[in-house]
Amino acid sequence: MQEVMKKRAIELLSDGTVAKVIGWMPGEFSYDMTPAVFTTAEEIESNFVYNDFCGANVSKYVMREQKKASDAKILVFLKPCDTYSFNQLTAEHKIVRENVYVIGVGCDGMADVEKIKAAGIEGITGIESDGDKFIVKTVYGDETIARADALAERCAACKSKKLTVYDEIIGEDGEVVENSGRFDLVAKLEAMSADERFEFWRNELSRCIRCNACRNVCPACTCEQCVFDNPKSGIDQKAAADSFEENMFHIIRAFHVAGRCTDCGECSRVCPQHIPLHLLNRKFIKDINELYGDYQAGDDTESKHPLTSFTYDDAEPSVIHERGNE
């Protein structure tokens, strides 16, 4: 697949259809695939990578490149979950769709290198997918690990393998996954008592070092200036000084992307402290689905965003007093 993608990228680059290619290249480690912008065929030939470590969502990079030069034609490779973010960005007028050539790539779920390492596999140099297992290449030779054991958590509860936007497809398009179970953990938390929930979140959020990685990677966090970068706020660019600031950062960040979050799971992937941040976003998605009807951000570029629309008979705020544990 990687070779097909490389070949097609070089074709489109050399015939002038596009001026830039957005994809992935190896980062510091060979399992640490990082989004990259290519402008020459040589770069693509030597650096372009697509394998089961390419979990990074590259849709936000389209916005960044268009900011630099808005009329440059860009080729971007999008996995199904990236296409949702791409659509959402298009809907918010952050991406000029006409100037982007989208190649949708099929995805069977990405591997989580932490899980592979936890299984005792060291010296990782590459990975290959083989049915229900991954073949992990290491400096000590090939190792195999069951797909279920190495799959990233967000991919195990994949919401959709459907490419919602593309100009052409490499690999296979999939379907929306019904009953993905992605809200199971949220429901489990909701069933706990308030004390238990408080304990749980204190335990998680107190680890936050305010590195802002979750915000910077988030395809929904596209404000020109973030509220947390406001020097008058007293909380800009510094570690949380108090449990309140830890809570506030995450509550407000989740609230600001509520209804626009496509649940791509990048926030949790990049968190160096392994805080399950996606559980905050999923709570909002679950509430929106339950209270205002099923909504999937990024499904298309037309539908109305649940927080900028309303119905006359919406639930009253007291509805939260009527459900679950206190």
Binding site: R197, S243, F244, M248, I251, L307, T308, E326
Partner: protein, 145 residues
């Protein structure tokens, strides 16, 4: 019990200029009593209330936050409180999810003619917060009095 008897909560009430603030005014001119520890902040519309305002209120020492606006359908700006209704529902649900007592927050629709409702709501809310005790889960230690 001793602690609860001495505890007087601080309540922040965001009141919309057109209905609830006038309602509060009416309860005053009607000489209806409500506790003095309700601090009213006048906002143009209930949808002016940014989630950050609510969190900041808790940070700076509020033990409870109540948002009052026009009844749905009666908004001075036609639709403001419909948006506020969705936003506050989601935000308060999130606070509840994080284990912060759900009874510390409330939304109430109070019209300009409902002075009695305003006083009754505030009395009830203050009693509720007094029972809950001081806000410890969403406070900023540096702001503790």
């Amino acid at each position: 019990m001793q602690v609860n008897e001495q505890f007087t909560p601080t309540i922040v009430a965001f009141c919309c200029n057109w209905c609830s603030y006038a309602g509060a005014d009416l309860s005053g001119t009607n000489r209806l009593q409500y506790p003095a520890n309700v601090k009213i902040i006048r906002v143009p519309c209930s949808c002016r209330v940014n989630p950050m305002f609510i969190l900041r209120a808790f940070q700076r020492g509020a033990d409870g936050v109540i948002i009052c606006g026009c009844h749905p359908g009666d908004c001075h700006y036609t639709t403001g409180n419909y948006y506020a209704r969705r936003r506050t529902t989601l935000l308060f649900s999130m606070l509840d999810y994080l284990g912060i007592e759900r009874n510390r927050t409330r939304v109430e629709w109070v019209s300009a003619a409902e002075g009695a409702k305003f006083a009754a709501t505030m009395n009830d809310f203050v009693a509720q917060i007094t029972e809950l005790g001081p806000n410890r889960r969403l406070e900023d230690l540096r702001c503790r009095k």
